[in-house]
Symmetry: none
Subunit: 234 residues, 4 copies
Amino acid sequence: MSPDISPEVAREVSPRAVETLTSRGLRTRDAVLHAARVVFAQSGYAESRIADISRAAGVAHGTFYTYFSSKEEVLHAVMSKLQREMASERPADTAPLAPAKGIEAAHRHYLRKYRTNAALLATLEQVATLSEALRTMRREHRRVFVDRTARAIQRWQDAGLADPGLDPTYAASALGNMVDRFAYVWFVIGEEFDEDTAVETLTRLWVQALGLDHEHPPSAHRRRRLPDRTTSTS
Amino acid sequence: MSPDISPEVAREVSPRAVETLTSRGLRTRDAVLHAARVVFAQSGYAESRIADISRAAGVAHGTFYTYFSSKEEVLHAVMSKLQREMASERPADTAPLAPAKGIEAAHRHYLRKYRTNAALLATLEQVATLSEALRTMRREHRRVFVDRTARAIQRWQDAGLADPGLDPTYAASALGNMVDRFAYVWFVIGEEFDEDTAVETLTRLWVQALGLDHEHPPSAHRRRRLPDRTTSTS
Amino acid sequence: MSPDISPEVAREVSPRAVETLTSRGLRTRDAVLHAARVVFAQSGYAESRIADISRAAGVAHGTFYTYFSSKEEVLHAVMSKLQREMASERPADTAPLAPAKGIEAAHRHYLRKYRTNAALLATLEQVATLSEALRTMRREHRRVFVDRTARAIQRWQDAGLADPGLDPTYAASALGNMVDRFAYVWFVIGEEFDEDTAVETLTRLWVQALGLDHEHPPSAHRRRRLPDRTTSTS
Amino acid sequence: MSPDISPEVAREVSPRAVETLTSRGLRTRDAVLHAARVVFAQSGYAESRIADISRAAGVAHGTFYTYFSSKEEVLHAVMSKLQREMASERPADTAPLAPAKGIEAAHRHYLRKYRTNAALLATLEQVATLSEALRTMRREHRRVFVDRTARAIQRWQDAGLADPGLDPTYAASALGNMVDRFAYVWFVIGEEFDEDTAVETLTRLWVQALGLDHEHPPSAHRRRRLPDRTTSTS
DNA sequence: TATGAATGAGCTTTCATTCAT
DNA sequence: TATGAATGAAAGCTCATTCAT
């Protein structure tokens, strides 16, 4: 595999813990963090210079190190924030839509959010394997997505709406990858697609793959159940 | 900084074209290329040093530059070769299997090939967006895969085996991504999966997504046809 | 090799402009510039190493690049300064000497100044044709000298002291070259001469060549006048 | 001063003495020598690569070393040939012209020859101080010119045509420089001049400087005589 | 003689990080 | 906190020269 930038796990603390910063300090830190995001998006990780980030943040070169102890640390902070943003902010599915409608809405939403952050997500792809810390962050972030989808699949299976023969986790992982990767190929690699056709096709594939388009008699045996969750999240 | 008095004599510095190499030269070039592959797989692109490659190839530092004019150029050569390998070598589907059987075999084959080259494919992911040249190579390589799958889907649609409502290219792209990305998450990011369950799930998702599990009366209208191919490849 | 997704943030690598330097920075810059002068004089351009200059300046290797972006750039700075020095600093010809006396003084002064800077002037000769920038600098520097002499010649012509049949600019260029080159051959190529004889001969040649040694009746027609200068410089 | 490329005096012998070469060998050697001349003229010394010379000569890289043992050695050979060409080939002044006419013809001839070889002469200027060997070659070559002129001046002095107060050698050196440098400034540095005006001015300056434009009674005392030459050349 | 592959010392340049102010 | 000058390890690349064939 790829080498870790630093063998030890990345430090979780900045040179000065965020909590202890004055409000002026917080503002500067934010400026640097935001600048880093812009620069990483624009130039990729390897080609981004601390000097670029400082300049973009409007601070002196040395000021960077007041808030982050290394280039890798800002990277971590930027990517962590990005992944949180990608995971949250999904449209409030307040109304319990029919599965197909909900899936379509989610797909359209995800693709648009991807497009917005495409450049930074491209950088994330570059660095995903650069350190074990990032690889771990990546795995954990995926788990949120996959779990959420897996639980939905299981609910659908329980309700006799989805193919009970599918392993919810494997299916969730596979289908999630499908959409995520489709966006990557489209917005990063530069393949050309049409949004409506894309959303429609992805949705149809999900619906049919999961068997949401016809009934599944409850007699069917399930291959594997998800571990019970006390907090039966959305 | 050279005097620009009269430009007459050509100045060429790039490496000698492969065709003009002596057999000794060819052997050395191969050694360097192979060493680069090993080193890129081991260390990723950014962390690979020309010195590492030369050492691994058992040649002097300067010899590298006899055959490649830069790190980027070997990268290109290595990745080009990798992609050709990934695209070829598919199992001889001599027997016209039932679609599902064929799909399953292809999936299993692909996952195994991916696992074999996982480290280098991880590097490919890192560098995919590093230069337009690589992005283009990437797009073109995907096209081979996608086209092959899209034509298969269309044949199945024509035969009334697959859902005629799907755009073959979009579906091929999406489903291809699904498998490719599943392998990445498994072998590169380090998620843990079981091969049989993986192959089974991926296959079931394909089959159901494409509607290969039930009949499609010929009356159905098709969304978009692929451009006709004279050479109706398998 | 950076992703070209969206170019927004400026990337500047060139050295900080001289005006923006702190006094400490200015001091260091001067040290480097002076060291470069010494090293170039000692070793010529091609044989001078950035490492030599840094060492001579007593700074770290990288510090050189804080102030100059390349060897060529310091060269430019050094030579520009040298030429300014050669052009200025002429002896205050406060007393309006007889032409011959003034010429003799100027020659002696020039030869001595040349001897002092011979090594660096030899380097200037080496690099004069290395870049168009230097060639241009050279041309402009000569113009100062030539113009000054040409105006003197014209004044003498106007006063009936010098041969009116000479083109002032051509004559100034030729006679200036004569002295300059004499110094080069003497101090750089290593021909052996005696100062008094040299000054005497050069002066006599100038005086006679210009016809300063006898009257020129005002009736004589002039070949070409210099463009009028409002500021009739001394 | 500038450093010598190699402390020892350049070897005077090629890897294989020219006399021992077969005619095929001689042809190859000539091709390399000529190619070197072209390349040096085009790119200057520092920017010329042995590879460029070999390619221009149409021989393999290694073949160069069959005939010259180093880059410096070809340089020496090329420049030696150039200086011989510049010194010879002057127009047969069969008819004992009036001094002024002869001088004018010589000047025009020299300027034209300079123009033809300007690029290579520019390179000569670059390298003149690179090694003691070249500096010596330079001095010796100048001596031919200067001596020739000095003897002419002395003859004119003896004949009562030229100012007997001038030291023939100093005057010859200075006046020779004047023309040589004028050509350099014109054809290498890129100052713009008109040929007729240039020839006319240079000639007038010579004539007047030497006092060839009026009589010099034999009573005048001469400053210094040239050492007697048995072979009272042209 | 001719070839062209191989060598490796040597050089320029970059840039994350430190630190005195 | 903020500054920006200073550091120096590290890497890419060049090319004159050697040498086996």
